[in-house]
């Protein structure tokens, strides 16, 4: 029945020019806002929320979902071209996207991001349509102990997958975890490592750190190289990878899509976690882990698929339970409620037309993001032809704006500046910056869930091995840690 309604709604939307207009408008605004550093998908939606008050419910839904879906892709544009993630979901895209752009493959990076976003978006939508109740159940069986062990697994993957020195990766990752502890303790609301200063009580935000450590540090590196030292970007060649190279990205994209959907469906997880876990996993699974961080297309494809798939995933708890999966769906839910549309457990029975409307809006938004993205791709890469002194000045400016805008706090600008210097020093010392960001994402979640699990179990650690998913994650982590040792032992034993 939902399928019938889906096609009916789709056909009726397609026959209405105003729906086309709204969707194209939403997608264009979404890409631009997403690409602006500091304007997250959440903020883009919150800003446009009042605009939607005057629309019909179906129009408002289409418009806002178009903004949501396209802003996720928009975030990757600034990540790839200027090394600053436009949205938290694009936080790992620049690890490989920016190096690709520096090698004259900006078009390829953008097209890989766009195509992966499209496929990931469809994976998320397909799982939402077909398996929403199942995904909701699976996400519900993923509670504090599983969360804690999943983040442990993510950190283990990351450390052991760092190209070059494992210990450098672990060291930097541990610093990231420590940074995540600054500010109010998540369980007791007591300040930690804040020296009772106002500046540190709010904690160290992910976005200023990332903007500083990647964006500003890159500006500093180019400054220090002097006018002659700045490497020229080779002319932008083909916009697309060869069909063969694209075909090889299927597996990372598919894995990213499934992980993204699932993580998106877990309330309060969010796309930053989805991309962090996906990236670490792809690096681990790749036959060329050393290529990651130096312009490996899979390092762009998998996270971009994951963050777009998490859109579909984040609709699962909203539509099955009536609770927002993340801040973005919270804004969306607020908008729907204002229009008298109440997502929740009664939705499928009471208002299937509304359900179909959401599916069609997501579908429409994905397709239009692809089209608009393709049309403007060549224009986006034009940014790189801006004279370099001017470009770096603009980037430095955007770093400041982006760091400020995320919480309207000047403290975040100082944090960004400090991490700009830290990032530059790390470059000089050849320490990988990626583990720091991933440690900062995963550390607080690991700590919160670990401690909550122990509150729930009355201090018994056995819970982690009594629950099957948690146990599996522990065994996987152990396998990753022990595999080099075992492999070495095996080789020695074989002689």
């Amino acid at each position: 029945m939902i399928a019938d309604l889906f096609f009916q709604t789709l056909v009726s939307y397609l026959s209405m020019p105003q729906m086309w207009g709204l969707a194209v408008l939403g997608v264009t605004i979404g890409i631009v806002l997403g690409a602006l550093p500091g304007v997250s998908s959440t903020m883009a939606l919150a800003i446009l929320l009042p605009v939607s008050f005057g629309m019909e419910p179906a129009q408002a839904m289409l418009f806002l979902i178009a903004v949501f879906v396209s802003s996720v892709y928009g975030g990757s544009i600034s990540a790839i071209l200027i090394n600053i993630p436009g949205t938290p979901g694009a936080i790992v895209t620049q690890f490989d996207g920016y190096p690709m752009a520096q090698q004259g493959r900006a078009g390829q990076a953008l097209s890989v991001a766009l195509l992966s976003s499209t496929v990931g978006g469809f994976i998320g939508l397909a799982l939402l349509v077909t398996l929403a109740p199942l995904v909701a159940n699976a996400a519900m069986s993923f509670r504090s102990p599983e969360f804690a062990m999943a983040t442990v697994f993510g950190l283990v993957l990351l450390s052991f997958a760092s190209g070059g020195s494992v210990f450098r990766g672990i060291l930097v990752g541990a610093v990231g975890v420590l940074l995540g502890m600054v500010g109010f303790d998540r369980l007791t609301d007591i300040g930690r490592f804040d020296y009772n200063t106002r500046a540190l009580q709010a904690g160290i935000e992910l976005v200023p750190v990332t903007v500083g450590i990647f964006g500003l540090a890159e500006v500093l590196r180019n400054l220090s190289a002097g006018p002659q030292g700045i490497p020229r970007i080779p002319p932008i060649g083909r916009l697309f990878l060869s069909p063969g190279a694209l075909a090889r990205l299927w597996a990372p994209v598919a894995r990213g899509g499934v992980i993204g959907t699932f993580v998106g469906a877990i309330p309060a997880a969010g796309s930053a976690i989805a991309v962090a876990v996906t990236y670490a996993q792809e690096k681990r699974l790749s036959r060329r882990p050393e290529a990651f961080g130096k312009g490996e297309p899979a390092g762009v494809a998998a996270p971009e698929s994951a963050n777009s798939a998490s859109v579909g995933g984040s609709f699962v708890p909203m539509m099955t339970l009536g609770i927002p999966g993340d801040p973005i769906t919270a804004v969306l839910m607020g908008a729907l409620l204002i229009h008298g549309l109440r997502p929740g457990p009664m939705l499928f029975a009471n208002n299937p037309g509304f359900v179909a409307g959401i599916y069609v809006a997501v579908f429409f938004a994905i397709v239009l993001t692809l089209l608009v993205g393709l049309v403007f791709m060549r224009a986006f890469t034009g940014i790189l032809r801006v004279p370099r002194p001017l470009l770096f000045t603009i980037i430095a400016l955007l770093c400041v704006v982006g760091a400020y805008a995320i919480r309207n706090s000047i403290t975040d600008v100082y944090i960004m500046l400090i991490f700009g210097v830290v990032g530059y020093v790390m470059m000089v010392l050849r320490l990988p910056p990626a583990p720091l960001v991933i440690g900062l994402i995963l550390g607080p979640i690991m700590e919160e869930n670990l401690r909550r699990t122990l509150i729930l179990s009355g201090g018994r650690w056995e819970v982690f091995i009594e629950r099957p998913i948690s146990l599996t994650l522990i065994l996987l982590s152990l396998a990753v840690i022990l595999s080099p040792v075992l492999a070495a032992g095996w080789r020695r034993w074989r002689g």
């Binding site: 009042p50 509670r143 106002r198 339970l321 008298g340 919480r407």
Partner: protein, 328 residues
Amino acid sequence: MKRRHFITSLAGTAAMVGALGMGLATTPAAAFPDQPITMVVAWPAGGGHDTVTRLVTEFLEQELPSTVVVTNVPGAAGANGVRQVEEAAADGYTLGVLGLHATAQSYMNENATALDRLEPLAVINIEPAALAVRADTGIESFEDFLAYARENPGGIINGNDSPGGFSFLNAAFIENTFDIQLTKVPYQGYAPTVAALVSGEVMAATLPVPMLADLHDAGTVRILGVAATDRHFRVPEVPTFEEMGHDYVITDYVMVFGPVGIPDDRRAILEEALMRAMSGEAFHERGRNMGLMLQPGGADDAAALMATMDDLIYPIMQDAGLVTVRAR
């Protein structure tokens, strides 16, 4: 809407230019407000406070000649946003919204704003506490709940905020008032708490009604009572605790406030505009759709509500050892 802003500001600019040209711009306090008003929300975009504020702002702009810009300044359990308003110039151009979190933080955090540094302007809505359990616990009524808790001290696993949050204070209030002991498990906000209740990680939750109403209708959870003087319109069949004979009324709220010292005439203009903005049927309909218990009230109502809840939660916080600064 964007265009309307543009036109208003264009018209404003034109008027200013015209006035200057004619040499008439001599009275500085001509018309308040003649520049954009900032409304600070101490929580992230998309949260409960944010959505309510954007709704009110939408209507407030129709009552004022200038635009109203919502600015999110999250961090430190709401303390940062409140402080930003406290420290702003008291010219009426910087306002904010706050809830019970400001009261709690004022006793917990040296850097948080003291309540007497705030000037309440208007109440938007109240959010009464409620108590819900999973349907499969077999707990049918509040009496069952109390009996269960007395038989098994700490046996009720309750999902709530971290200390200082409203649902934590509500849980602590139940413990104090009815002399029982709960295992209070902290979550970061309401949505994760609901998820924990649905997944069975916790068996009870001290959340407000709107987040639980649908799950209550679906039969997954059972709301045992509402801690307000009136029943909640979303679940009219659920009695209030007062009806059950218990003195248990505790409510969170969202109110508009400003820094201390806004000139009286400006404060009056703002208060009146807020009250007009919240009087229309369209506003009430949207608010109801969002599950909000709208209770528009002026500055006096706001101050009274804040004082009542302050008196109510102070002893709870003291018992829980949360009062570390500005003890009364």
